[in-house]
């Protein structure tokens, strides 16, 4: 009895879309995987109508993308599915690396307390997609299953699609198109666009195994274990007693042979070392590559997720960076569609997410080389690191069994206003916000939960008396502008309507012990910051962060 029953989503005929075809829509998203769904949900939160097309009528086959990182969980919180995902998923922070049978390295994804979300949850992709589909439907995303895009043309002021449905062809147009159709991206190919990068000469077997096991909720990676000599094995706990096990096979392995149960079952039995029963729910053989498009914007088409970039999976940087792409893109697209920002703001999406993709590709490539060294000298150094790691701290730090997904600090973003004051810590312009525990009206809350999806000023002051009537009037005026800027006050004592930083962690993380103002983007990244409570720099910083042309 499988642990999961795949839904069959209802097909809706295109009659309404054929009236006066081709209709023109402000926004169409192609691909209802986690990234396309996240983008569509965010679009609805910005008040945009959105049509989401998917060529299938169900969710991900197999667990596929399993590890959802803290930053992604924060985004999922903002989208409204974070709690459901964390309830269903298996939280973890600790990863352990073994050489043979001895532990040589351990990492902890959240090095300090005082954050709402864990470093990572494991959740089968189909469970996440179920939650995202339900949220999308609740928000009024126009979801069309079994709509396959077979042609696309960029025009000067719109993009044209030819779609195949079970009831025949449909022509439709969009002002803007978000392409989220996965690694092979038929739309990317149809637009004549390419990716650059390279393939790694290796193969891995991945299996979803249903079994009773008391391995802890930690990521375990073995180099050269007795049960799979000379190769690497990876173990993750998912929900419903489904365990994800990855076995390195090498480039010469025959994928057709290796995916047969008769080949897979003995490998798992060797790993377990006992005769407990288990069932194989899903098996796949994958090869991996690190590639990306040169530009994630092509006219009216914006590429997100695997359609834009692919990474080898060590580090869980695929789906996580895709969801972070959508987080970066949709607020910018909303401003453009609302006529509040020029189209060139969308080029900052491409720049910033190419920066992030390069960081992900760099880290995934380094991990892949360490986990599967491709030359004799590379293997020699890798084994030397593992040997030295048993005893020596410096070598433990070099053990690269996967640099797990962390959000990029967008230091090169053209939307940032460079610091003119000196701050310590990591909340530089371009940084995603650090969480912190706060109180609102004596009830526990989290800094990130207090941010909305709009530009926001975070003001830090010892108490609310620092907000003079004149300053309050300025803050009120900022909220009334076409690009509204909201504000949140964080104080030590929670006076007025402020958020109380009772543990002082917010002031510490933002180096804001006295008075400071941070301008935060809708995607919860720092755009600018100043010491003191003057808002003099805000208009210019806001203009810069929203891509306004120079006056």
């Amino acid at each position: 009895m499988p642990t999961y029953a795949y839904p069959e989503f209802a097909y809706r005929p295109p009659q309404d879309l054929l009236v006066g075809a081709p209709q023109r829509r402000p926004l169409i998203v192609v691909g209802a995987g986690p990234v396309g769904l996240a983008a569509a949900i965010d679009a609805r939160l910005h008040g945009l109508p959105v049509l989401l097309l998917d060529e299938d009528a169900t969710v991900s086959l197999g667990s596929r993308a399993v590890c959802y990182a803290k930053r992604t969980l924060e985004i999922l919180d903002r989208l409204g599915v974070g709690e459901a995902a964390c309830q269903r998923g298996v939280s973890w922070n600790v990863g352990r690396t073994f050489l043979d049978e001895q532990e040589v390295y351990r990492f902890d994804l959240v090095a300090e307390p005082g954050h709402k979300r864990p470093g990572m949850i494991n959740l089968q992709q189909y469970h996440l997609e179920d939650m995202l589909v339900a949220r999308a439907q609740a928000l009024g995303v126009d979801l069309r299953w079994r709509y396959q895009v077979v042609g696309v043309q960029n025009q000067a002021d719109h993009i044209a699609l030819q779609v195949q449905t079970p009831d025949g062809p449909l022509a439709i147009e969009a002002d803007w198109l978000i392409v989220a159709d996965g690694a092979r991206s038929p739309l990317r190919r149809a637009l004549g666009l390419d990716t650059q990068g390279h393939v790694f000469m290796d193969r891995f077997l991945i299996a979803d195994v249903v079994m009773q096991a008391d391995y802890p909720a930690e990521r375990w990676l073995w180099f050269d274990p007795p049960f799979h000599r000379g190769q690497t094995v990876l173990l993750h706990k998912q929900s419903d007693d489904v365990w994800r096990i990855d076995f390195q096979l090498g480039w010469d392995a025959d994928p057709e042979q290796e995916r047969q149960p008769e080949r897979v079952i003995p490998r798992i039995q060797a790993m377990l070392g006992d005769k407990r029963p288990f069932t194989l729910e899903w098996v796949s053989i994958y090869t991996f590559q690190c590639r990306r498009m040169k530009d994630f914007r092509a006219g009216r088409a914006l590429f997100v997720g695997d359609a834009a970039h692919q990474v080898s999976p060590f580090g869980a940087r695929g789906a996580n960076s895709g969801i972070q792409d959508a987080d970066d893109l949709v607020w910018k697209l909303a401003l453009v569609i609302q006529g509040l920002a020029p189209h060139s703001l969308l080029d900052s999406y491409s720049e910033d997410r190419r920066f992030a993709a390069d960081e992900n590709i760099l880290n995934s490539t380094r991990s892949t080389d360490f986990i599967t060294p491709k030359s004799r000298v590379s293997q020699t150094f890798r084994d030397a690191v593992l040997h030295l790691a048993r005893e020596h701290p410096f070598a433990r730090k070099l053990v690269n069994s996967g640099r797990l997904s962390m959000p990029s600090v967008l230091t090169a973003s053209r939307l940032n206003t460079p610091d003119t004051d000196t701050f310590s810590g990591d909340m530089v312009p371009g940084a995603p916000l650090a969480d912190a525990p706060l109180l609102r009206e004596s009830r526990a809350t989290w800094l990130l939960d207090e941010m909305g999806g709009a530009f926001t000023l975070l003001l830090f002051a010892p108490d609310s008396s620092a907000i003079t009537p004149a300053l309050q009037a300025e803050l009120d005026a900022l909220r009334q502008q076409p690009i509204a800027v909201h504000s949140r006050l964080i104080t030590a004592d929670g006076s007025g309507n402020s958020l109380a930083d009772v543990q002082g962690l917010a002031a510490q993380r933002y180096d804001a012990q006295h008075a400071a103002v941070y301008l935060i983007r809708p995607d919860q990244h720092v755009a600018a910051r100043w010491r003191g409570l003057s808002l003099a720099g805000v208009p210019a910083a806001l203009a810069r962060a929203s891509g306004q042309p120079n006056p």
Partner: protein, 74 residues
């Protein structure tokens, strides 16, 4: 001064947001230095590298310590 066994890799003027990055930067440079070399060429490169770095360290007591640790469990 004893042999340093805590993580030391850093590059002047660089700001790191992740603590694993400087070590990974060096490790990649090391692996890249061997790109497209034969095994024999790699062996020669490693020998030269050891000599260059050993001279930079200079202190023979430290070097003896490193040699002993490197030999243990060979």
């Amino acid at each position: 001064m004893p042999l340093q066994l805590q993580a030391q890799f850093h590059e002047p003027g660089q700001r790191y947001f992740r603590d694993f990055t400087p070590g990974d930067d060096f490790y990649q440079a090391l692996i890249d230095a061997h790109r497209d070399l034969s095994d024999a060429q790699s062996e020669r490169l490693n020998a030269r590298l050891i000599l260059l770095l050993a001279n930079h360290i200079g202190d023979i007591a430290v070097l003896r310590e490193a040699l002993a640790l490197a030999r243990s469990g060979a």
